[in-house]
């Protein structure tokens, strides 16, 4: 298994103000799967993503990724983990505004010793390399963000509402891109979204409610992104 969560709980705050974001969660995601995590606000979707991305630590339980328990990693180990094992795609793209598309990707490529251009070519931005974020559309910015995640050649892609800031057409295009990369590169994609329709293109849909798994189902025949409507 690529990702395995055992009895994971995450509690924010203390005493009466404590918020249980995740409650005793058990979950496994195999290598190469595109899993969509759905749920209302406060259901624990993003917390789950943060734990897998080693951006946060569980209050109880263990998060294992490719056989490694993230809880045992020190700060240096967590940085190495984020650098080599996971790529992030955020809702608000989070590009560095003072760097061009190419440079935003190179930032990561330099870290891990890979090339930036192939990643940008893979997301169809070979002709926008020298554009700064402010000169790109939202969809293009998100593609740069995806290329940045791709450039690491990390086995896991963590996407937090990747279409949340995009219009319908652009959103479908980005989802299609993520699906294509998942199939071509064999990356495990864990995608958090409010949009239930996106679940139709996934291999698996995990629905969270109040920090626990309310539904976990495999999608018999995933749709192409172009077939999605919402």
């Amino acid at each position: 298994m690529t990702i395995a969560l055992h009895g994971v709980s995450k509690i924010f705050g203390e005493g009466p103000a404590a918020v249980h974001a995740l409650r005793d969660l058990d979950l496994t995601i195999p290598q190469g799967e595109l899993a969509v995590i759905l749920g209302p606000s406060g259901s624990g979707k993003t917390t789950l993503l943060n734990l897998v991305g080693a951006l946060d630590r569980p209050s109880r339980g263990s998060v294992q990724v490719r056989g490694r328990d993230l809880g045992t990693l020190d700060e240096r180990g967590r940085i190495d983990y984020r650098r080599t094992q996971v790529g992030f795609v955020f809702q608000f793209f989070n590009l560095i505004p003072t760097l061009t598309a190419l440079e935003n990707v190179e930032l990561v490529a330099e870290l891990v010793g890979t090339q930036a251009r192939p990643a940008l070519e893979q997301v169809g931005l070979a002709d926008r390399l020298d554009h700064f974020p402010a000169q790109l559309s939202g969809g293009e910015q998100q593609r740069v963000a995806i290329a940045r995640a791709l450039a690491k050649q990390a086995p896991i892609l963590l996407c937090d509402e990747p279409t949340g800031e995009l219009d319908f057409e652009t959103g479908r295009h980005i989802l299609g891109l993520l699906r294509r990369l998942n199939r071509e590169n064999g990356q495990t994609v864990l995608m958090v979204t409010h949009n239930a329709a996106i679940g139709s293109m996934a291999d698996r849909v995990i629905r969270l409610r109040s920090g626990a798994v309310a539904e976990d189902r495999r999608v018999a025949r995933p749709l192409d992104a172009g077939e999605l409507t919402w």
Binding site: I79, R83, F88, F90, N94, P97, V108, F132, A134, Q135
Partner: protein, 784 residues
Amino acid sequence: MSPLTRKLWRDVGRHRAQFLAVTLTVFLGVVVFAASYDSFQNLQSSYERTAVDFRFANFTAVGGKPATLAAEAAEMPGVAAVQERTVADLPLRIGATELLGRVVGLPPDGQPLVNQVKVIRGSYLDPARDEAVLVEQHMAEHFELGSGSIVEIFDGSTWRAVEVVGVVSSPEYIWPARDRQDLLTSPDNFGVVFGPETLAARLTSGPNQVAVYYRGGQEDAGLTAGLSARARALGATSVFTRAEQPSNAALSEDIRGFEEMALFFPILFIAAAAMAAYVMISRLVHAQRPHIGVLRANGFGRSAVLRHYLGYGALPGLAGALPGAVAGVLLAGLITRLYTSMLSVPVTVVRFHPATLAAGVVIGLVATSTAALAPALFASRVQPAEAMRGETPGGRGRPSLAERLLPPLRRLPIRWRMVLRGIERNPRRTLYTALGVVLSLVLVLVSWGMIDTIGHLLDLQFREIQGQDASVYFEGPVGTAQVAALRDVPGVADAEPALEIPASLSLGGRHYDTTLVVLEQATEMHRFRSVDGTWLELPAQGMLVGKGLEQALDTRPGDLVTVQASGLAGSPQVPIAAFVDEPLGTLAYVSRQAAGAALGTTLPATSALVRYAPGADPAVVRAAITGLPGVAAFEDANALYDTIQRYMGLFYGFVGIMLVFGGAMAFALIFNSMTVNISERSREVATLLAIGVGRRSISRLVTVENLAVTLLGIPIGLVAGYGVSSVAMATFQSDMFAFALHMRPSTLALSALAVVGVALLSGWPGLRALRRLDIPAVVRERSS
């Protein structure tokens, strides 16, 4: 409390460190303003009251026909009182110490009409006791003299013992200067006693001065011109106004420093505070654009938004200015009392000046409110719909100027290119941060420049120009043989004759009273530094004069100047050979040979310049020389140097405080810019952390970017600091002293290093915040 006011207070609470930095800078600026301006006003009032209470002469004439002048002056309109008196420069002996002295005649039966004294201890003169004297307090304190002490006065033939009946202060000797050319004296070398006029007259050749006090003590240029003309016509060798009187002139220069400080230093602080406030409030407004949109959408008008954000400037302005003004005014009282007690100014006036308090508050308030104006206007013009979308309009990205100018820089690792572009990202903030560095360096360099300059000038005067270790004053004129005899004293390596004569130099209706110093042509005891820094020889013909004379007489080398000196017959015309650049005084130097030729006589010596043999004990040499017959006083140049260094203690203390204030200002300003810089980048930083860039690496990037901005300001700050220091020192330029800026290269280097240190230190809180950054929360924020 309205919701907006509550929001303001809570925002201030959330950003308390930044608001505190602005408040502190305003506080420092207003403290310096109120303290220095009120000190200036208090000291000026103290001197003015002293002048009126003790009827400090508006005009004094020396020599000529004092009785005639006194009678004529008494009839002139505007004259309130005239005092004819005797002032004699005679050697004094206190115990075993012989020093240069001055005996001033006073009416024994009551205070004089002009230049009264304040009895501090003991009593005033007793008409029944002809040989009782009052001693001036500086000398009294140094030699621990009081009623019953004995002081000896050399009357030209014998030492005459007189008894001290009181210790007094005098408006003429608040700063105990011998004359304008000799402002810096040590109590070991110069002291003043006030004796009955009859005693003073007996010690010399009778009354020789006329002191005139004008009605109300007020200056009257017309009256002064009339008196000067009449005094000169009656043969006066020197005339001077109250402003020119040595002690008063030195003190006036000193308190003028307070006035200039009251303007100059606060400007730096207040400008720094305004910039820090601007940086902070601009950032706040940008971060709160969505909130502003919501406010506007819910019916808050533009003016309400404008007022709200102006409050972010007014609050720290008021919070800093109010206590700053109060503290400054209180501090001014302390400074005034400390200053007047150190100098023993007879009258201390400490007044509460409501205008200073009000001005301090207004200055602080206006500065930060003005800084808030641009961001507040921006806030008031925000379009609600656009603002609520939350996207802060992004600037058009482009490679940095450095990369455009130096294309190879484009091959730098991406992280370093981020640093280069970060500097240009918010040009105004970069500019203000760099300006803050400039202001801090200016403040530090102006303060440090004063220390360097004074240290250098004292070294120049006492180590390079003056070659003697001591000056030996004789009881009367002596021949060169008596001077040569000093060379036989154990511990003396060399001795040269010198003659110092009070003289008036005149050219084209202008007069300048100075001292004519006659030295050996090949003197090794005094070096003459030209205005271009080269060393000159004493010429065989003509004289060398201090460069202050260039302005005083509107003269230039080659001009023939009329020299009128007491005790010298005739008024020879002597050409100016060259100007000399000396830090202290504006003296005229002539070689013994040239002077002798001009007067057709062999000139005596009144003093000898002595150099010690290597390893000689100055105390032993002093004892041996003062034990010689005919020696009246001994002035140790090194003791004088040490005394001056001690006088500088208060000044160094002040400069030290300014350096600390400069550091605090730099910290506050750079801290604000850096904190804002880091907080604005929090999403980027969180993203970098998320993608695997280490915190240390990010700290390095942020630190390097902030340092780069600091480094941008440093060369400009060094140049500006040097320039401002030059201007500041030039204001202390007069015929009494010339403070040309001298700044050591190490001062520039250390100041720059100190600012870099402050920048590193001030970035530390921001970097700590970076370590506590909540990555998951920040990467999901809509805008930074």
